[in-house]
């Protein structure tokens, strides 16, 4: 049966294409790091690596949460505001009494984040209103709330318990905590999404919400879950932000929503849902932060930095796309040879 053999080889190539999305980011990352390290050896020094990992980990966490939402064909623009709100409220809370433990801080942060996610999720899944509008709305509301609470105040590192600060700077076996947390979150979510029936539901919903309803998938509950999860991760990110930077004003992570969405998109998660992995999104986040760091290390004129970041971003998605188109064409041609 020629169709079947064609099918099999198709599978191999298709698989490769899907993995290629992640591979191409890894390749881009490798080139970037190699070039930068070639110019300046410090870039790959212990401190340099540590800095890159630390810088990326908060964005990675947010990107992991965001990709779950995006896979269901929704979007969560409010993550930046949630990080800001959590960082400030938890900081405020801890500053009021040094005795409060850091476990409690993490739980509080995650809870506040999850609450924001709950609101988004309820509005999107039960109110059935477009996610973009709702989360743009909650972006403004949460930001306003944050500023209202902060009222021009600032949380300083001295006000925070040392345990929390060491979470941001401490290391386990030489690796800082933050990247460890981010990687664990990424692996867990990635495994869940791939290997559990309820995880696959997210992809099904994003692929076709209508069909998902007809197939008996609890669409609302899953969408709700995605938002809850994204909110909770943003909450966690907020606590980590606090522990890393120590100094927090109301507009921490202001405007990060676009960066998070960029990371997710660069990582190959389709904005139209149903396609992509959290690994890709995490790599996208890593790539974005590394670009920023590398440009500074490469002594690029600061006025050029943003332009180059933008150009590289475009390059990344364009190359990926061109590659995919090419593979599709090769696939079709190969089909022809099988057919004849």
């Amino acid at each position: 049966m020629s169709a079947v053999t064609a099918g099999r080889s198709t599978r191999g190539v298709v698989d490769l294409v899907f993995r290629a999305r992640e591979l191409s980011i890894v390749a881009a990352l490798a080139v970037l790091v190699a070039v930068t390290a070639g110019v300046n050896g410090n870039f790959l020094s212990g401190q340099g690596m540590k800095d890159i990992l630390l810088n990326a980990s908060i964005l990675v966490l947010l990107a992991v949460g965001q990709s779950v939402v995006v896979i269901t064909r929704n979007i969560d623009l409010s993550v930046g505001s949630v990080v800001g709100l959590v960082a400030f409220t938890v900081g405020d809370f801890l500053a009021a009494d040094h005795g409060r433990g850091i476990v409690f801080a993490v739980v509080l942060g995650v809870a506040v984040g999850a609450l924001c996610g709950l609101v988004n999720g309820l509005l999107v899944s039960f109110g059935r209103v477009p996610a973009l509008v709702v989360t743009l709305g909650t972006l403004y509301v949460i930001q306003g709330l944050d500023h209202f609470i902060a009222h021009g105040r600032q949380i300083n590192a001295v006000d925070l318990p040392p345990a929390l600060l060491s979470l941001g700077n401490g290391t386990v076996l030489g690796v800082p905590y933050l990247p460890v947390i981010a990687v664990v979150a990424m692996l867990a979510v990635g495994y869940y999404l791939r290997s559990y029936p309820s995880g696959r539901d997210f992809y099904a919903i994003g692929s076709s919400p209508e069909a998902a309803g007809l197939a008996g998938i609890p669409v609302r509950r899953r969408v709700m879950g995605a938002y809850l999860f994204s909110g909770a991760l943003a909450g966690l990110a907020g606590v980590l932000w606090l522990s890393r930077f120590g100094t927090v004003v109301a507009d921490a992570a202001n405007g990060w929503e676009l960066q998070v969405v960029s990371a997710v998109v660069v990582g190959g998660v389709a904005i139209t849902g149903g396609v992509g992995t959290v690994y890709g999104a995490a790599l996208g986040a890593l790539l974005l932060t590394t670009i920023t760091s590398a440009l500074v290390v490469l002594k690029v004129n600061p006025f050029w930095q943003q332009a180059i970041t933008g150009a590289l971003l475009l390059l990344a998605i364009s190359v990926d796309r061109l590659l995919a188109l090419r593979v599709a064409r090769v696939l079709r041609r190969r089909n022809a040879r099988h057919g004849s």
């Binding site: 109110g127 059935r128 509008v133 709305g137 403004y140 007809l214 008996g216 006025f303 475009l314 998605i317």
Partner: protein, 354 residues
């Protein structure tokens, strides 16, 4: 997997969305999102005039309208894009780039009469780049324009660096801030009115407009109907870039200051206005009237709140709530109306789109 038994609303038709705004009752017609925004706008206006003395003064309104000029102009092009299920997040950066160029060239001694057309051409090129990436490579516009958002803003810094150029010629500055003689209407607002009328006709009454709605609602069907989907999208992006660049010129002259960071974050304001006006981000639905009402509502409400010394944080919360309420109210009311009309609690209502 445990199946979902306990959905809150059992009257839940999975498929077959009911048509938006084409409700069979006059009530349904009234419930259109954009009409609701219009009504809100009127309420804000009446409330404002009654409540705060300064609000309805010619001076204040003239200023408030002028202040909305750039957002309103860009919103026109953005509406068409969003109707065609695309988006351009780079508009504020194009505005910034255009402003920076105006400044740099002016500072270099160029004539403003040369600068303005040149800058607008640059804006068109920016739009063209967006458009080509979207149509030729088939990349999602959200991703592309997030990239060009950084790129164009970066170019603005490349052009002007940390400089701020001021002292533009008075007669041109007057065009940006001055009123049309004999009226309290600033020139940019007048221009907006004209362009809005043109856009309204194009969007709602011409074949081009029909094509946009078809592309936004079902791109493949539009392609099969012989509509030049790619070309039209390309045109829209070019248009959007052009308008944004023009808005950059207006912005520069209005504030009399050219800087690389002019208009940072404006894209979200534009998008908020467009969405508030009832344009569906998934494409294929929306009216220009709604968008104009949305722009005005956000602007005037902000003005009113400021006049009453409401702090920015509350303004931000109000804007956010307004966005949420504006999408959720029509659905709640429609659901309630359905429940009342249908004899049994099992209604077949589905909100306008899912």
């Amino acid at each position: 997997m445990a199946p979902d038994v306990t959905t809150a609303d059992p009257a839940d038709d999975v498929k077959v969305p009911a048509p938006a705004g084409r409700g069979r009752s006059p009530f349904g017609r009234f419930l259109r999102w954009d009409v609701l925004v219009g009504v809100l706008l009127v309420l804000v206006f009446i409330g404002g005039s009654a409540g705060s003395p300064g609000f309805a003064s010619i001076d204040n309104l003239s200023f408030a309208l002028g202040d909305l000029g750039e957002i309103a102009l860009i919103a026109l092009a953005m509406t068409m894009l969003v109707v065609a299920a695309e988006v351009d997040l780079s508009v504020a950066s194009v505005l910034g780039l255009s402003s920076a160029l105006v400044g740099a060239l002016w500072d270099a001694g160029w004539a403003i009469e040369t600068i303005i057309p040149l800058v607008i051409v640059v804006g068109a090129v920016c739009g063209l780049v967006n458009g080509l990436l979207v149509t030729r490579l088939g990349l999602p516009s959200l991703a592309v324009t997030i990239g060009t958002l950084a790129l164009y803003r970066g170019l603005a810094y490349v052009v002007l660096g940390d400089r701020a150029i001021a002292e533009f010629p008075q007669q041109y500055a007057d065009l940006a801030v001055g009123d049309v003689p004999g009226t309290p209407i600033p020139y940019p607002v007048m221009l907006f009115v004209v362009l809005a009328a043109v856009t309204g006709v194009v969007l709602h009454a011409t074949g081009f407009g029909r094509s946009l709605f078809a592309i936004g609602a079902q791109e493949e069907a539009a392609l099969f109907a012989g509509i030049r989907v790619k070309r039209i999208k390309l045109i829209l992006f070019v248009l959007s870039g052009t308008v944004a660049a023009f808005a950059g010129v207006v912005y520069t002259l209005r504030y009399g200051s050219a800087r690389a960071d002019n208009g940072v974050g404006l894209e979200l304001a534009v998008i908020a206005a467009v969405l508030l006006g009832g344009v569906d981000f998934d494409g294929g639905k929306g009216t220009l009237g709604g968008v104009i009402a949305g722009v005005l509502l956000i602007g005037l409400l902000r003005n009113l709140l400021m006049l009453n010394d409401v702090s920015t944080e509350i303004q931000s919360i109000v804007t956010g709530l307004l966005l949420i309420i504006s999408v959720i109210t029509p659905r709640l009311v429609a659901a309630a109306g359905q429940r009342r009309r249908s004899p049994s609690p099992t209604s077949s209502s589905t909100p306008p789109e899912s």
